[in-house]
């Protein structure tokens, strides 16, 4: 079979009210603006949504609206009505020309892994990433919901990028608890705050979700760079010093490491670097996410390996 170019698929997941539609509105608007700051502006996006209700697309972008499709200057939005994703995929994959990128705004109760399954069986699709929005102001309610807690956990579990929405509506302690909870659950997954859906669109649309283990260096574009490596024994004080030196360009870091005192877990979150004893076996896994000004992979490799115990 001829291998056709693959279309990246991004799934936006998160509970009702977590800001999925705001994010989608922002992505569609930014990708449609000719003078958008993103160098990838103008890519044609097909968005699949549950309903048009809350969409608020700039009128200038709307070329035509008919039935369950809104044609945009730079793509289209189609309403995938409820559970009928298969039909929507059949329709979208028969579009001509095919879109540059497909974005699905999943319903608040969807299991994003199941949606991602379409990319695993369709040779013309490539899963670019699952973005899960977590509502900082409602996390304590959602995570304990008697009917939905399992769904909530699955959405977080499936994420390749976690976006904490409405950070301004949560107090500092709540926010920090949430961040450390998420970091504990998904140590390899980058996290960022988002308010009203506004963030560099390449952070979402350029995300690479194909890998299971982070690549040594992955440029997530436009403001975020991730570096991951396996470190053997490294004294925690030395590691903290290195991270301090990288400020302010390192945004967060996590490692499950060991030194002479035993296994420990290191977090850099909310500007604070913390370490704590770790009960399990240290994996040596270390990951940092930062801005492009952060030293490159080779330099980071050198910096972090320097004090490793041989």
């Amino acid at each position: 079979m001829n291998r056709l170019p693959q279309i990246p698929l991004t799934i936006i997941s998160g509970f009702l009210g977590s800001g999925k539609t705001s994010l989608l509105n922002h992505l569609l608007t930014q990708s449609g603006l000719e003078n958008a700051p993103s160098e990838k502006s103008g890519r044609r996006i097909t968005a699949m949504v549950n309903d048009f209700g809350a969409l608020n697309i700039d009128a200038e972008l709307i070329a035509a609206k008919h039935g369950n499709q809104i044609a945009l200057a730079n793509g289209c939005v189609c309403c995938s009505i409820g559970d009928d994703l298969m039909r929507s995929f059949m329709d979208v994959m028969q579009q001509s020309p095919l879109p540059d990128h497909i974005v699905i705004e999943a319903s608040g109760v969807a299991e994003p892994r199941r949606i991602a399954g379409f990319a695993s069986v369709d040779p013309q699709l490539r899963l670019d990433g699952i973005v899960t929005l977590v509502d900082a102001s409602a996390h304590n309610v959602h995570s304990k919901d008697p009917y939905l807690a399992d769904n909530y956990a699955k959405q977080i579990e499936a994420a390749h990028l976690l976006l904490i929405s409405k950070p301004d509506l949560a107090d500092t302690a709540t926010l920090e608890n949430l961040e450390s909870e998420l970091a504990a659950q998904k140590p390899d997954v980058p996290m960022a705050h988002v308010t009203h859906g506004v963030l560099p669109i390449d952070l979402v649309l350029g995300l690479n979700g194909d890998h299971k283990i982070p690549q040594p260096q992955e440029i997530i574009e436009h403001g975020f760079v991730q570096w991951a490596g396996h470190l053997t024994d490294i004294p925690r004080a030395a590691l903290i010093a290195k991270l301090e030196n990288l400020r302010p360009h390192v945004l967060r870091a996590k490692g499950v490491l060991r030194d002479a005192e035993g296994a420990y877990v290191l977090h850099l979150a909310g500007g604070l670097i913390t370490t704590a004893p770790y009960a399990g076996k240290a994996s040596g896994h270390f990951v940092i996410i930062g801005q492009p000004q952060m030293p490159d992979a080779a330099a980071l490799e050198k910096i972090f390996r320097q004090n490793e115990a041989a």
């Binding site: 209700g53 009505i81 109760v109 939905l148």
Partner: protein
Amino acid sequence: MNPHLPHATHIAVRDGHILGVGTVDDIDGWQNAWGPLELNADFADKTLLPGFIEGHSHMMEGMFWDYHYVGYYDREGPDGTVWPGLKSIDEVVAKLKEIQAARKDIDTPLIAWGFDPIYFTDRRMNAADLDSVATDCSVIVLHASLHILNANNFVMEAADVKGADNSEFIRRDESGQATGEFLGQLGYYMAMRTTGINLLAIASSPETLVNFANVARQTGVTTATDLVNPMPAGSEQAMREAVDADDFPMRLVVAFQGNSMEPAEGVARMQELQTSNSDKLRFSLVKMVADGSIQGFSARLKWPHYYNGAPNGLWYIEPERLGDYLKAFTEAGIQVHVHTNGDECTEVALDKIEEALRAHPWPDHRHTLQHCQMATRSDFKRMKSLGVGVNLFSNHLYYWGDAHINITMGPERAARLDDAGGALAEGVPLAIHSDAPVTALAPLFTAWCAVNRLSSGGVTLGNGTQNISVEEALYAITMGAAYSLKMENEIGSLEAGKRADIAILADDPIDVGAEGLKDISVIGTMVGGHVHLNQGRAR
């Protein structure tokens, strides 16, 4: 189904309605007012029942007759051709070879449907079977359950199954070799993308409608539902033209897909649709789907969840959103049917209905839970209190009863699967259904399932308290379903003033009894005074 006159010898029909029922003498007097009545003795040795009402089916059933039927039982196509039942995999393959040899466009995909492996326990169909039909075009056999399909190697190569290692949608043998079975939604998607055929294109063409009506008609159905249709703007006109035609042999009730738009827009669209109602076509209710299916492990179950330990299923809509829709439709006086399979989902649906009713009290809302397969006696008590009806998926007892006992629910909970006896005992208005094309559309078969509770593996589900009598089952497929559709004043029984909708049967179901209910031959139907006879012998 008329308690004042359960049995009669004669029925008189005028202007599409029943003029009178009774003895020839009872009827005689009507001639003074209505002029001479002509005696038709064609069906003198037959049994007339109120036309059957299928309260949960899908128009998609009509699409399959574009493909080739390879089911186990004889089935009459909408054009009157009888497709003989195929009693072994070899017979299915031989039939497909015959079809392929007669086809003109032999390069196009060959698609067959209705294959039911329940009946073939010695082995499963594989890719080699279908390779013997054709190797240079797609050959696809859809299972009756619509959860599995078989394909030949042409499809497997195009779909590149060798590279895929996901056992969720490709069945493999012990050596890891793909067998040709594609499983579940993703399996269907893969096969459809490969062949370029969209098996799920919205079924609304007039041909599909006519096919659907003819399939239903052959089983004695005079009113059927298309129980979820997004009804895109303007689609009602074509539907109205097709259904209102005199030779269209059925009434159709369409349930609007509630979540296809925002609640307020949905209310407005329903009100608009209702202006297109006619004698034969009704837009009277809204359908909401709240969870998935039990056999697909996508239904929402209460603790202790699935018997085999599978993770709990899926919500198809946020409970909060379900509540928003129920409130909006309840406020507007629009009846809602909610699909719930798992017991957790049933509980949430009842919570949301209760909230809607507290906000907008409505004594005769008749909101109905569809499938509602795991409802307990407590759930039925609560439904009774809230005025909620139920339409149970009785065909499941036969098709998936064994799987529910052994895999999904375990023996204790499977005993009360689709507990029609419990619903009636608690006073809940009851209908029973096929969910065609998921299972065979044939109300007498559905009645047989509810009466006997026998699985395809030969196991009886429950201890007898869940069974209903033949009379109760006949009521469920006539008046019970009519009540669930708020049409009990028009159809569902044979009495003066009601619509002349009749099922003509070769034998009296009461005489035949529980065991033979499903095997009674349907001679034809009358719909609004028009007689439609079966050409061949339908099941």
